[in-house]
C-alpha cells in the first residue's frame, strides 16, 4: 500500500474557503489527492467533509447562497477558473450519492443515460452498458432483465447501478458521498470491494462516517473538524499514530 | 461546447420570457383597466363618482354613482361571509378532527364538487329553485334579493374556505393537541381552545380568499339578486333586490357605445373591483405566509 507514495497528484486543493451565506463552512483547506488511490474524508457530522467533496465537482454551485474562494486543480487545471465548463468538469468528476438515486427508468436506460446525452452512437450503447455494469459488479445479477425498472432493485443493487451509471460516462475521478450509509452490511462489503477494484483505473475520494470503512478501503485519510482540515496522511499513520490530539480523540471514539 | 452553452442560454431566455408574461399580463391589465377607467373623470369628478348615491347611466341627467353598487357588493358579500364562514370552518373541523378517515375521504371530494360547478349553473339553480322558495317562504314581493345572492355565494365560497381551513388545522402539530388532551381536556375543549386558535391565521387567510372570491363573482349574483341599483338598507336591504359592481359591468357592457362615458364608467368600476380584490389577495397571502413560518 505504501507504494503509492510517489504517485502523481491528481487533485490539488489550495486555501479553499466556503461560505453558506454568512456561515463560514470551510476554512483554508489545502490538500493533495494522489492519482489512482482512495482518499477517505472522515470527521463528525457537520464538519464540512461532504461540503468539501461537493466542491470537487462544483455541485455546490447549485446552492444559491454558497460562495467559494481558493483554488482546486484537477489534472493541473483550475476548475474554478472562468473558462472551465462545469458540465464538462462533471463528466470528468463523477459522483455517487449517499442515498441510491437511480432514475425511474429501466436499468439499461439508467446506465445509457449519460453516454446517450453525451453523443455516444446508438450501436455502441449496448457495449457501454455491459462494460459499465460489469465494472459496477452488477452485470451478473441483472443481465437478463436490463429492461425492468431500476426501482425494483434492492438498495445495494441500486447503489451499484448508480456506480455503473457514473462509470459509463468514463470519468477520471469518482466522488463517493457516504455511499454505504443507507445499506446493509453485506451490500456495504460488496461496494467496498468494488471501490478497491475501481482504484486501479480511477482516482477515488470517499466521505464516510464509518472509520472501519475508511481503514478498510482508503490509502490516505483526511480528518475534518468544524470546517478545518485537521490532519491528512497515509491511512495507517492517521489511525495508528495521529499527530493531532483531536484526530486521536475522534478515532478512539471520544467524540463524534 | 460553445454550441451547447448557446443552446442552454437560449432555452433559459425562452423560459424566462414565458415566466415574465405573467408579470406583463398583470401590468397590462392595470394599464388597460385604469386608462379606460380614468377617462371618465374628464367629465365626472372623482368625488361625485364616489359620493353620488345614484347610478343612472342612461337617464338625463346621468348619474355615475359608485355607492349603490359598492354597497350592493358589500351587503351581498357580507351575507355570504356570515353564512359560509361558520359553516365552512365547522365542516373543516369535522373533516380533519372528528371524521372517520373513510367518511372524510367521501366528504372531501363531495365538497370539491362545489368548486367545480360553473357559476352560471349556480345562478341558474338559484334562479329556478332558491328564488321562488325564498319568495314563498318569506312572503317577499320578489325572491331576487341580496339574501338570495348571499346564500348562493356562500355555497360557492364553501370549498375554498373548507379546504384552506382544513390545511391550516392539519398543520397544527400533534404534540400541541396531545398536550391538551393529556391535561384532561375533552376533545372539544382541545379543538376550540388549542387547535382552532393555533390554526387561526390560516383560517383567516381562508376567509379572506373566500371574500375575494365572493366579491368578484359575477354570473350568480347577476342572475339572483334582481339588479336594482339602489342603496340597500341594513339589514332590511338583505330582503330587497340589489346590484353589485360585477353584475353592473356584465349587464351593461353589452349595451353601451364604446368610448362613451358610460363605457368608461364601467371600466372605472372594474378598476375599483380589481383594486379591492388585489388588496384582499395581498392580505390573504401575507397572512398565509406568516403562519407558515410561525408554526
Amino acid at each position: 500500500m505504501s507504494s503509492d507514495l510517489g504517485k502523481k497528484t491528481e487533485i490539488q486543493v489550495k486555501d479553499l474557503n466556503l461560505w453558506y451565506g454568512d456561515n463560514h463552512a470551510l476554512h483554508d483547506v489545502s490538500i493533495n489527492i494522489p492519482k489512482n488511490s482512495v482518499t477517505a474524508l472522515i470527521g463528525p457530522s457537520g464538519c464540512g467533509k461532504s461540503t468539501f467533496l461537493r466542491c470537487l465537482n462544483r455541485m455546490n454551485d447549485l446552492i444559491p447562497s454558497c460562495r467559494i474562494e481558493g483554488d482546486v486543480h484537477i489534472d493541473g487545471e483550475n476548475i474554478y477558473s472562468k473558462n472551465i465548463d462545469v458540465v464538462d468538469l462533471r463528466k470528468r468528476v463523477g459522483m455517487v450519492f449517499q442515498k441510491p438515486n437511480p432514475f425511474p427508468m429501466s436499468i439499461y436506460d439508467n446506465v445509457s443515460y449519460g453516454p446517450k446525452i453525451h453523443g455516444a452512437k446508438k450501436s455502441d450503447l449496448d457495449g457501454i452498458v455491459e462494460d459499465a455494469l460489469k465494472s459496477g459488479a452488477l452485470w451478473k445479477e441483472v443481465s437478463d432483465r436490463l429492461q425492468s425498472s431500476a426501482l425494483d432493485l434492492s438498495g445495494g443493487q441500486q447503489q451499484r447501478l448508480c456506480i455503473a451509471r457514473t462509470l459509463a460516462v468514463k470519468p477520471e475521478v469518482i466522488l463517493f458521498d457516504e455511499p454505504c450509509s443507507a445499506l446493509d452490511p453485506l451490500s456495504t462489503s460488496k461496494i467496498e470491494d468494488l471501490i478497491l477494484e475501481l482504484k486501479k483505473d480511477y482516482t477515488i475520494v470517499i466521505v464516510t462516517h464509518n472509520m472501519q470503512q475508511a481503514a478498510r478501503v482508503s490509502d490516505h485519510t483526511a480528518f475534518f473538524l468544524v470546517g478545518d482540515m485537521v490532519e491528512f496522511g497515509k491511512t495507517e499513520q492517521i489511525f495508528e499514530s495521529p499527530q493531532e490530539k483531536s484526530t486521536e480523540d475522534y478515532i478512539t471514539g471520544r467524540f463524534g | 461546447m460553445i454550441n451547447r452553452n448557446l443552446k442552454e442560454k437560449g432555452i433559459e431566455s425562452l423560459l424566462f420570457f414565458s415566466a415574465v408574461i405573467a408579470v406583463v399580463a398583470l401590468f397590462l391589465l392595470c394599464i388597460f383597466l385604469f386608462s379606460d377607467g380614468i377617462i371618465l373623470f374628464k367629465h365626472i369628478s372623482v368625488t361625485s363618482f364616489i359620493t353620488d348615491t345614484k347610478w343612472f347611466p342612461t337617464a338625463e341627467p346621468v348619474h355615475f354613482g359608485l355607492l349603490p353598487l359598492l354597497l350592493g357588493s358589500i351587503i351581498v358579500t357580507t351575507g355570504a361571509v356570515i353564512f359560509s364562514v361558520p359553516l365552512g370552518i365547522a365542516a373543516a373541523i369535522y373533516i380533519s378532527e372528528l371524521a372517520d378517515p373513510k367518511i372524510a375521504n367521501i366528504v372531501k371530494p363531495v365538497t370539491e364538487i362545489l368548486a367545480g360547478i360553473p357559476s352560471v349553473v349556480y345562478g341558474f339553480f338559484g334562479l329556478v329553485v332558491l328564488v321562488p322558495f325564498l319568495q314563498k317562504s318569506l312572503g317577499l314581493p320578489t325572491g331576487q334579493t341580496a339574501l338570495t345572492g348571499s346564500i348562493m355565494l356562500g355555497i360557492m365560497a364553501l370549498p375554498t374556505i373548507i379546504s384552506i381551513s382544513e390545511d391550516a388545522i392539519n398543520s397544527v402539530p400533534r404534540s400541541l393537541k396531545e398536550g391538551s388532551l393529556a391535561l384532561g381536556s375533552t376533545k372539544w375543549q382541545t379543538i376550540y381552545k388549542v387547535t382552532v386558535p393555533a390554526a387561526l391565521s390560516g383560517i383567516s387567510a381562508a376567509v379572506m380568499l373566500g371574500i375575494g372570491r365572493a366579491i368578484g363573482e359575477t354570473m350568480t349574483v347577476m342572475m339572483v339578486t334582481g339588479n336594482s341599483a339602489v342603496i340597500p338598507g341594513f339589514p332590511s336591504g338583505l330582503f330587497a333586490p340589489v346590484r353589485t359592481m360585477t353584475a353592473t359591468i356584465a349587464l351593461e357592457m353589452g349595451e353601451v357605445p364604446q368610448g362613451s362615458d358610460h363605457f368608461h364608467a364601467l371600466f372605472a368600476i372594474g378598476s375599483v373591483l380589481f383594486i379591492t380584490t388585489f388588496i384582499i389577495n395581498i392580505i390573504a397571502n401575507y397572512i398565509k405566509r406568516r403562519y407558515r413560518f410561525s408554526l
Binding site: P64, C162 | L26, L29, I113, Q189, G216
Partner: protein, 285 residues
C-alpha cells in the same frame, strides 16, 4: 363540572356534524335538481342540432362546439406558456426581485375576478389589438385567466420530483436543460396534465369573460374562423334563463343545457383525479 364538559362536547360535535351534513346536502340538492330535470331534455338531437324557432326548440350543438373551440384555443395558449413559466420559476430562477415579481403576479392574477379579465380582454384583444369580438379574443382572455392555475399545478408537479434525480443527472455532466427535459419533466408531466385538465373545466364554465369578448346571443351557423363570434354553453344557459323567448316554456332546454355543462365540467374533474391517482401509483412504486 365533568358532566357539563361532556354535554358541551356532545352539543358541539352534533353541530359540527350538522354543518358537514348541510354542505353535503347542498351538493346533493343542486345535483339532484339539475340532473332530474335535465335528463329528460337530453337526447341525441339535443346535442347535435341547431336551436330552432328563436331558441325555443331544437338543440344546443353550436354552443357545445363553441365551448370546445374555447377550450382548444385557451389551452393552446395557456398550457405551453404555463408549463414553461413553471419550469423557469422552479428550476432556473434564483431568488431575486424578478422571481418575487413573477410570484406576486401569479398570485394576483389568480385572485382577479373573471369579469375584470373580461374587461381587460375587451380593452386589449377586442379593441386595442383589433381582434374584435371573436373566438380568438375570448380564448386569449380565458387563457390568461387559467394561466395562474396551470402555473401553480405545474409548479406543484415539479416540486414532487425528488431533488436526487436532478443531482444524479447533473453529476453525470448533463446540462441543466437536458436534465430538466429527460429526468424532471417525464416525472412531472402527469401532474402538469392533471392541472391542465382541471383548468379545462374552468374554461368550459366561465361566462363573464366571454360575455365581454365575443359570445353571441344566437348564431344561425357555426363560426368559420378564429375571428368569428361564437355561442358557448354557459352563456347560452344564461341567455335562455334570463332573456330568451318564453323563459318559462323553455325551462327543459335550460335544465338540459345546465346538465350538459355540468357533465362536461364534472367528468373533466373526475378524469383529472383518476389520471393523477393512476400516475401517482406508478411513480411511488
Amino acid at each position: 363540572m365533568f358532566s357539563n364538559a361532556k354535554t358541551n362536547e356532545k352539543i358541539a360535535f352534533a353541530m359540527l356534524r350538522l354543518a358537514v351534513l348541510a354542505v353535503v346536502a347542498f351538493v346533493c340538492i343542486i345535483l339532484y335538481y339539475i340532473i332530474s330535470n335535465g335528463l329528460s331534455a337530453i337526447s341525441l338531437e339535443f346535442i347535435t342540432e341547431m336551436p330552432r324557432n328563436r331558441m325555443t326548440e331544437g338543440g344546443i350543438y353550436p354552443a357545445i362546439m363553441g365551448t370546445i373551440y374555447l377550450i382548444i384555443g385557451s389551452m393552446a395558449f395557456a398550457m405551453p406558456l404555463g408549463i414553461l413559466s413553471a419550469i423557469y420559476v422552479n428550476e432556473y430562477a434564483k431568488p431575486s426581485k424578478t422571481t418575487w415579481a413573477i410570484e406576486m403576479a401569479i398570485i394576483n392574477l389568480a385572485g382577479t375576478p373573471s369579469v375584470v379579465f373580461g374587461l381587460f380582454g375587451l380593452a386589449l384583444f377586442v379593441k386595442y389589438l383589433g381582434f374584435g369580438p371573436s373566438i380568438l379574443s375570448a380564448s386569449l382572455t380565458l387563457g390568461l385567466l387559467i394561466l395562474p392555475v396551470i402555473i401553480r399545478a405545474s409548479q406543484e408537479a415539479l416540486i414532487t420530483v425528488p431533488k436526487e434525480y436532478r443531482e444524479a443527472s447533473l453529476a453525470l455532466g448533463v446540462t441543466k436543460w437536458e436534465t430538466t427535459r429527460r429526468v424532471v419533466l417525464p416525472a412531472a408531466i402527469p401532474g402538469m396534465i392533471t392541472g391542465a385538465i382541471l383548468s379545462i373545466g374552468r374554461v368550459a364554465g366561465e361566462t363573464a369573460p366571454i360575455l365581454l369578448t365575443g359570445a353571441a346571443y344566437f348564431l344561425p351557423r357555426l363560426p368559420n374562423s378564429i375571428y368569428s363570434q361564437f355561442m358557448a354553453l354557459p352563456y347560452h344557459l344564461y341567455v335562455l334563463a334570463t332573456s330568451g323567448t318564453n323563459i318559462a316554456q323553455t325551462r327543459p332546454l335550460q335544465y338540459g343545457t345546465a346538465l350538459i355543462l355540468l357533465i362536461i365540467v364534472l367528468s373533466v374533474n373526475i378524469i383529472a383525479v383518476v389520471f393523477r391517482n393512476h400516475y401517482r401509483k406508478k411513480l411511488s412504486r
